[in-house]
Amino acid sequence: MITIYFFAGMKEAAGTPQMAWEIEDTTVKDIRKKVKETYPQLHQAESAMVAVNEEFAGEGDIVQTGDTVAFIPPVSGG
């Protein structure tokens, strides 16, 4: 199982802070696709950065069961 986190405006648009995907291994690209299918209203899933296990990841990066994935829309701290 892979856990996927949403924050800020994405969390509000999804209506949930997280979703679980029952899959053994996949890629960042396919997670993005899965999220868009699950929450069609989540436009930011297209452009937001993705972090795997708390580190920014590329589209082709492998994601395995037990990993945590987070969608990181443009940050605005400071």
Binding site: F7, G9, E55, F56, A70, P73, V75, S76, G77, G78
Partner: protein, 156 residues
């Protein structure tokens, strides 16, 4: 416990003093501190409060990375950074950065680097609350002081 680190995310009010104390040391002659506070007016619109949300474990890792970047670039610099999350009122402190170094130039450079980098890579988001609504704010890197009517071409 978290205050023992020189980088942390907290829900409690921030006091710059312990962060400044953390970087003062005999080798340093200069400490530059940057404090970000909640501003009431942004582009003419009155903010009544802000809410900051963080992906906390990753945000702390990224603060650690920024500290390491500065201390690697300037071996004699020491850095402490704290960012508050949750609901903040006008004038509340959202972020404190303290950078010490033997000479002042490196302390200013390190401090400035840290705040720009926070606005670039640390997963923290703010929601502005106005009297008539609220909104999550996207990327607000102040790339230039002339963003409204500056001379650059090709801005969006």
């Amino acid at each position: 416990m978290e205050q023992r680190h020189n980088y942390y995310i907290t829900e409690k009010p921030l006091d710059p003093s312990p962060l400044i104390q953390q970087v003062i040391r005999p080798e340093a002659g200069a400490v530059n501190t940057f404090i970000g506070t909640v501003r009431e007016l942004t582009e003419g619109k009155r903010t009544v409060a802000l809410t900051y949300e963080a992906y906390k474990p990753m945000a702390e890792k990224k603060l650690e990375q920024i500290v390491r970047e500065i201390e690697t670039e300037n071996k004699d610099s020491r850095v402490a950074i704290a960012h508050r999350i949750g609901k903040l009122d006008i004038s509340d402190i959202a972020v404190v950065i303290a950078v010490s170094s033997p000479h002042r130039d490196a302390s200013y450079r390190g401090s400035r680097y840290a705040i720009e980098r926070i606005k670039e890579i640390v997963p923290i988001w703010k929601k502005e609350h106005w009297e008539d609504g609220s909104e999550w704010i996207g990327d607000q890197l102040e790339q230039t002081a002339y963003s409204v009517d500056g001379p650059e071409e090709g801005r969006t």
